[in-house]
């Protein structure tokens, strides 16, 4: 079964612009200029039950707008959405019963009252029986380690503590589909790890589908096998993260620091005839050689350089996902063969 089906989804916003000057301001009182901007531009994708999908894109690429349409908050301008077999906007009250949402940037707990009071209200709101609640939430509370926070008002919690409670709150009714909109924004490494482990666990235990937007690609690497990449409202890549890495991989970089004075022409001359591109970071006297990812070639390169100059430090790096994504955005599209 597909948890999410999206067909030709489109959302347009009116963007008003102000005229300049006082006379312009007066004219704006009566008629205003606006442009219609598609925030989400005819996108298509499906997500299977139990998948963990990373939904990524730059700021303003249309990620949050998509999530808001998928959760039934916004009405699409055109196109079809089926989530958990329902139209999110039409059957809102029935539909939201089957999803959990965490917005990293806004709290869904009541600010002035103890966390457990919020939980109690949500338990009633989602009509969760005591038995279900105890079975499920005892475990969630233990895994996320929020037991000692339950009697504290939300305003007194740190961001990491609050996020863990938010996550627990989104799971009170054990929804089959979970939307996470930047859940790890501003969190420290330990909390991030805890949250990731927890998400993996519930995915395995309940086959929960998770759609995750984030700017932290390490989240995606740790959790998602599949990514959907969005740019200016369009899907530019949809597929396995691994494959994306393989196709986009420009090879490796080997960094050298020398004990003696060397300049760029010297090293270039040294490796003439090899498919190597050199770059120099002058401030740190760091020489970087970009080379294809072949073991043979890399050893050749290193042996040549080492035999010619005395070396202080040497490092071999793979292109990071961050760099990869940056490359994609600069190029604007991905072609996967």
């Amino acid at each position: 079964m597909n948890a999410i089906e999206v067909k030709n989804l489109r959302k347009e916003f009116k963007a008003y612009s102000s005229r300049s000057g006082l006379a312009g301001a007066f004219r704006d009182l009566f008629t205003r200029n606006y442009k219609i901007i598609p925030a989400v531009n005819d996108i298509n994708f499906t997500v299977k039950q139990g998948e963990m999908v990373g939904y990524i894109g730059e700021n303003g690429a249309g990620k949050s707008t998509t999530i808001k349409m998928l959760t039934g908050i916004l009405t699409p301008t055109s196109g079809e959405i089926t989530v958990n077999g329902m139209n999110p906007h039409k059957e809102r009250e029935k539909f939201v019963q089957t999803i959990g949402v965490v917005f990293g940037q806004r709290s869904q707990l009541w600010w002035d009252i103890a966390v457990q009071e919020s939980f109690r209200l949500l338990k009633k709101v989602y009509k969760v029986s005591d038995e279900q609640y105890n079975n499920h939430m005892d475990h969630v509370i233990k895994t996320l380690d929020i037991e000692p926070l339950l009697d504290k008002p939300v305003r007194k919690l740190s961001l990491g503590q609050r996020m863990r409670c938010e996550l627990a709150a989104a799971l009170i009714h054990n929804p089959p589909l979970l939307f996470l909109d930047e859940p790890t924004i501003g969190l420290d490494v330990l909390v991030k790890l805890k949250i990731r482990d927890f998400l993996k666990e519930i995915n395995e235990k309940y086959n929960t589908t998770i759609l995750l937007t984030t700017h932290d690609l390490s989240d995606i690497e740790a959790l998602c096998e599949r990514v959907i990449m969005l740019d200016e409202g369009k899907v530019i890549y949809d597929g396995a993260l691994k494959k994306l890495k393989e196709t986009m991989d420009d090879g490796k970089e080997v960094q050298f620091q020398f004990l003696q004075n060397v300049d760029l022409t010297q090293v270039t001359a040294l490796t003439a005839g090899m498919p190597v591109k050199w770059e120099l970071n002058e401030k740190e006297q760091l020489f970087t050689a970009y080379i294809e990812d072949q073991d043979e070639l890399i050893s050749q390169l290193i042996s040549k350089v080492v035999s010619a100059y005395k070396i202080k430090d040497i490092k071999i790096n793979e292109t990071s996902t961050e760099e990869l994504i940056r490359n994609i955005y600069e190029k604007g599209a991905v072609e996967v063969g």
Binding site: G72, I73, L74, T75, R106, W110, D112, K124, P153, D181
Partner: protein
């Protein structure tokens, strides 16, 4: 049960009010000062006159006191809260819950109202009763009618607040409208001046507006300024307004939901 979650919301709001106790103490003080000021003002106006517009000075004082105490129950800032939630985009969180947003807001208002009724109106009224000459009726039927009447006041006032709150979806900044609405309600509801003091044509116009159902009707019932027959008629009128105001709310809300723009993020 379906009502469960709404009742729970009343409890939550109750807890929230308890979290801010200082507001509550200053509130009692402000209301008492208000009532005192109006008492001295009306005593000066009455001078040696026995009655003005069919009300004696004691009835007038009672009217003022009960209007303010009833206000503690029906008054809420739902319009301002909604405007904030919409402007800051927090309404998104409300829309992913399996409940009716406006219904939940109403329940929050009711929770707030009950809190103030118990911890504010009752002790406040005892204080005022000791300080000023107030005539209290102990007839159970008057109390029953009054109870029904202020409950309906609450609904009329809340519906007007919801209506004002929803306009934020269209206007983005409706602070002015909210303030205007508040002044209109204080004046035309009979809180500051009983309706019988308005000129005849204005009274005629007011008859066709919902505002007097907010304060004038319950206060007149309590001070026994209405006969039984008049009281029943007035309550019927309140009830009619509760139903009538429901229509534009449904209408505007369904339009608003379609063209919602969530701010930020």
């Amino acid at each position: 049960m379906k009502l469960d979650k709404y009742l729970e919301m009343i409890r939550i709001r109750f807890l929230m009010m308890l979290a801010y106790r200082t507001n509550y103490y200053t509130g009692i003080l402000i209301y008492s000062i208000n009532i005192g000021a109006y008492y001295f003002l009306w005593s000066a106006i009455y001078g040696s006159k026995e009655q003005i517009q069919g009300l004696s000075v004691t009835q007038m004082t009672t009217y003022v006191a009960i209007s303010w105490m009833a206000r503690a129950f029906y008054f809420n800032n739902l319009d301002r809260e909604m405007a904030m939630e919409i402007k800051e985009g927090r309404v998104a969180v409300e829309l992913i819950r399996p409940y009716n947003y406006l219904g939940m807001k109403t329940m929050q208002g009711l929770g707030e109202g009950i809190f103030r009724l118990i911890f504010f109106s009752v002790p406040g009224f005892i204080l005022v009763y000791l300080l000023f000459p107030i005539q209290l009726s102990w007839k159970p039927d008057i109390w029953a009618l009054f109870a029904v009447s202020i409950l309906l006041s609450f609904f009329i006032n809340t519906e007007l607040n919801l209506l004002t709150g929803i306009t934020t979806f269209f206007l983005y900044n409706n602070t002015g409208l909210i303030r205007a609405k508040r002044v209109v309600i204080d004046l035309f509801s009979g809180l500051l001046l009983p309706m019988s003091f308005f000129p005849g044509w204005a009274q005629e116009v007011m008859r066709y507006l919902p505002f007097q159902g907010i304060s004038y009707i319950p206060s007149m019932i309590f001070t026994e300024g209405f006969t039984h027959h008049q009281a029943f008629e007035a309550i019927g009128q309140q009830f009619l307004w509760v139903i009538l105001l429901f229509i534009p709310i449904r209408l505007i809300w369904s339009i608003a939901k379609k063209q919602i723009v969530i701010q930020g993020g």
